[in-house]
Symmetry: C2
Subunit: 523 residues, 2 copies
């Protein structure tokens, strides 16, 4: 099915190098067929109407339901026929059996993209569902109208103010996400947002009856707003084309791929979920590596990898120094990094002497990993004495912890003088404190080290971990944000950090300069 | 060093089978030497005074500091000499160099246990620190007074109202925890509490200059309040004794051991942290397995294992059915369970027919894993229609979802009729919902299935997962609590659930009846 001509005044379609699918992100109007007219089905409007209102989408929005009436002050149209003017994008939230008629109407009306929230198609495995899916494809064929899904969430594009979730970020970012699963796309976004990541576009494509993973890989390869591609894929429709599309994508940008349905039943689940043929995971993973993509096995690993690619300066070698609070966390930290193939060399005598001058009871600070809790305590007291509890936040930035002040600035300076050291891992355990958890205390405890590390010559990773419940989550948000604001990669587990940094180094070795160029473009 | 005679009227020392160390949990009085007299050092009182007040410890509490004065309405004694009456337990929070004098004074005063929060001993690796540690051991030798630490948090025993953290649970439970690291002990407790677990006693023993992991293993083996032993250990002081102690412990109760410091640098970290000789991890793990203990590699794994042992009925075989909301989560679920060696067999036709009668658009429910989102939606609507939004919580329990109501009760009944099925995994994804997250919605969505599963003949595991931020943590607390209230094991990741259940089955095979007996004793 060839892509439709854009014919859309919002899109400079005459511009060179506009990717074929670009126009689907620039609809002049959006109709939700199957909009809720009563409070029981409110959620469908929450998914597809609320985000447009909240993001400030400037096109026309048409809720459609034969019952008519009003939804949140908007007129509900009884049918597409009742709507005047062009309809570029239709979202279907009606039962599968009614979809063929809708697709016919859309085709005749000149709609450019129909996205199906509707499920009950090929993913059911039932002959009837498969037949309906084949029927809608058949109806659209040759018309130029594209189909997205069925059984998917659709499009998110903050630049053009469209989203299927009102609380996705309104600002744009460098990641293009392809997600065959709607629920995984939301889990990826929510997990990524707290780590400081943002997205250029997201497409949840479900059963992929028309627009599929190859179309989307090709699109994101050419999309200038997308610097890194992330994809959750359950099955591949066209092996040879996928291979070509991925090879070109991976030669252009980092591509992180999470393949679901690796196992016998997982494959069956994927079939049920989006009607995909899953294939063998081992074969797929080896194909990914061969083509230069980065395979991951969970949403958590995917987000860790994106954090590393976008915010971690690739280390030149495997020697790190870990600095944090608390012994249990230090032991864990080094276990995980050595498990991932890194080394924590002993501190050279001259560096150790320098550090010991900064902290009188330097007992716990003479080896690598460094339990810097004593120095953190001193710096916290100094910061609070200087700025007071009320102004500690301002103080944290103003103090700057530069060299020559006998504190964290000099501590970081001493580590800079360590020959052969390749990177620093700064970590802070939250639920290791046996008393109460206080947001200011966490930030003034770990903050001076993090702020001082901005001056380091070395790549830095930050790990805020040992978060055991909702209270420590909430209270650690400020120190998490501090890591992000300082431009460091923020990890929430030591294992995740170790694995992602190892793979970043492998990727950087195989794609020299690619990561550096992306990171420079984001500054 | 032989244990001191108890000589403590609070403890029926004449009773048979009282473990040797029992008396340390029954002090008549506790002195904190190095109590804070000013707001800068408030935290030391928060660690060691506040919990005694909050828990309602009925013995005497003596803050001690040469400066005197008052702390939170308590008199601060200038010295131990100023205190009348017996002092059973002294907590040292003074610098290492002052500790030998303190130990001498305690010995002469007839103190039974000195615990050292103080650090700066053998864990520093410095000759001076090692010398001071040797000196305090030498001073106490032969006196019958025991030393705990140095460089440790000390004792938690809710039954006798002592704790080193005011927000640890005040109610007792079946787990005895040995933790060489103070920070790990807090991380274990906070991670375990949200999963419904409670502790009989915790001992954080740091450098273990006197009371060591062998003493504690022997104690917890004989402690009737402790049904399961968990231990975080960095090093072993006496290999042959450890082997004997562990063999006896593991023959008596499940013993879950997390060994920190497995790697070269991890071992160095452990040495720095608690002055331990870490040894080879592989050798240690093989010893643990040989002796019947359960090795784990992180706090998270430890807590998953404890949850499984205490709340999961050991499945008879490897065939499971996974039921949840959302396709991405279902695919992940089955990938993780098959990776852990389980099987998700296809649904037999008669079971499928039964299920399909319950849900008209049963498309997504005809295979294993089952994406039960449609049925969950119907049950949610039915519950809300019956009880209203205001009373849904009461309704959730009152409705009971029994057989014959055409809903979740019959759905669970249909699964019960599945021959050869060994257990159920019920999972609920939180951050897969693209709209807002509402606590009532999560609970009424997943709740009916969970409550109905109480009637199942099959072992049940519950997994509340896809929790990406503090908001979804907070809002999922109610559905998490529902799983705990129903008596099901609560896991927060599918991978964690799969691994823990596999190891539970291995443990149950090797120790027939032990898990069942413990679970029966807790009802």
């Amino acid at each position: 099915m060839p892509p439709a001509k854009a014919g859309n005044p919002r899109l400079k379609s005459s511009a060179k190098n506009v990717p074929a699918l670009e126009y689907i992100f620039h609809p002049r109007s959006i109709a939700l067929v199957g909009a809720a007219t009563d409070p029981v089905h409110w959620w469908i409007n929450e998914y597809y109407i609320d985000p447009l209102v909240k993001f400030g989408y400037t096109g026309k929005v048409y809720p459609v339901n034969p019952k008519g009436g009003e939804a949140k002050g908007m007129k509900i149209y009884r049918s597409l026929a009742e709507i005047d003017g062009p309809i570029d994008h239709v979202i279907s939230a009606i039962p599968a059996r009614s979809c063929p008629d809708l697709v016919r109407e859309c085709r005749d009306r000149g709609v450019k993209l129909v996205q199906f929230f509707s499920a009950g198609f090929a993913e059911t495995g039932d002959p009837q569902g498969i037949a309906i899916q084949n029927e809608i494809v058949e109806i659209a064929k040759g018309s130029g109208m594209r189909l997205l899904g069925p059984n998917c969430m659709g499009l998110y594009c903050p630049n053009t103010k469209i989203s299927f979730c009102f609380n996705y970020p309104q600002e744009s970012g460098p990641i293009g996400l392809i997600s065959q699963s709607g629920s995984n796309s939301t889990y990826v976004v929510r997990s990524a947002v707290v780590r400081g990541l943002r997205f250029s576009k997201i497409v949840s494509h479900g059963n992929a009856c028309d627009i599929n993973e190859c179309d989307l890989l090709e699109y994101f390869t050419d999309d200038p707003d997308t610097k890194v591609i992330a994809a959750y894929i359950e099955g591949i429709k066209d092996g040879p084309r996928f291979r070509r599309a991925l090879a070109r994508a991976a030669a252009t940008k980092p591509v992180v791929i999470y393949k679901g349905g690796f196992s016998e039943a997982g494959g069956r689940a994927a079939a049920t979920h989006t009607g995909s043929l899953a294939g063998s995971y081992a074969a797929f993973e080896s194909l990914l590596r061969q083509l230069g993509a980065i395979p991951v096995q969970s949403v958590g690993e995917m987000v860790d990898m994106l954090v590393a690619i976008l915010h971690m300066k690739p280390p030149r070698g495997r020697n790190l120094c870990a600095v944090g609070n608390g012994g249990g966390g230090s032991v864990l930290a080094t276990d995980e990094f050595e498990r991932a193939g890194f080394r924590l060399p002993g501190i050279p005598p001259e560096v150790r002497e320098h550090i010991r001058k900064l902290v009188p009871p330097a007992g716990s600070m003479t080896r690598n990993p460094i339990d810097a809790a004593p120095l953190m305590g001193i710096e916290q007291a100094r910061l609070l004495a200087k700025t007071g509890l009320k102004d500690w936040e301002k103080g944290l930035w103003n103090a700057r912890f530069q060299r020559g002040d006998g504190g964290m600035g000099d501590f970081v300076g001493a580590l800079d003088d360590w020959p052969g050291l390749d990177f620093l891992v700064l970590h802070y355990c939250i639920d290791s404190v046996p008393g109460g958890i206080y947001s200011w205390q966490l930030t003034t405890g770990g903050g001076p080290l993090i702020v001082a590390a901005k001056e380091s010559r070395l790549p830095v990773a930050t790990v805020i971990h040992f978060i055991a419940n909702e209270d420590s989550w909430l209270k650690s948000l400020k120190i998490q944000k501090l890591c992000i604001d300082c431009g460091f990669p923020l990890f929430l587990s030591m294992k995740g950090a170790a694995r992602a940094i190892r793979r970043l180094m492998e990727f950087d070795r195989d794609h020299p300069g690619m990561v550096e160029k992306i990171q420079a473009s984001l500054k």
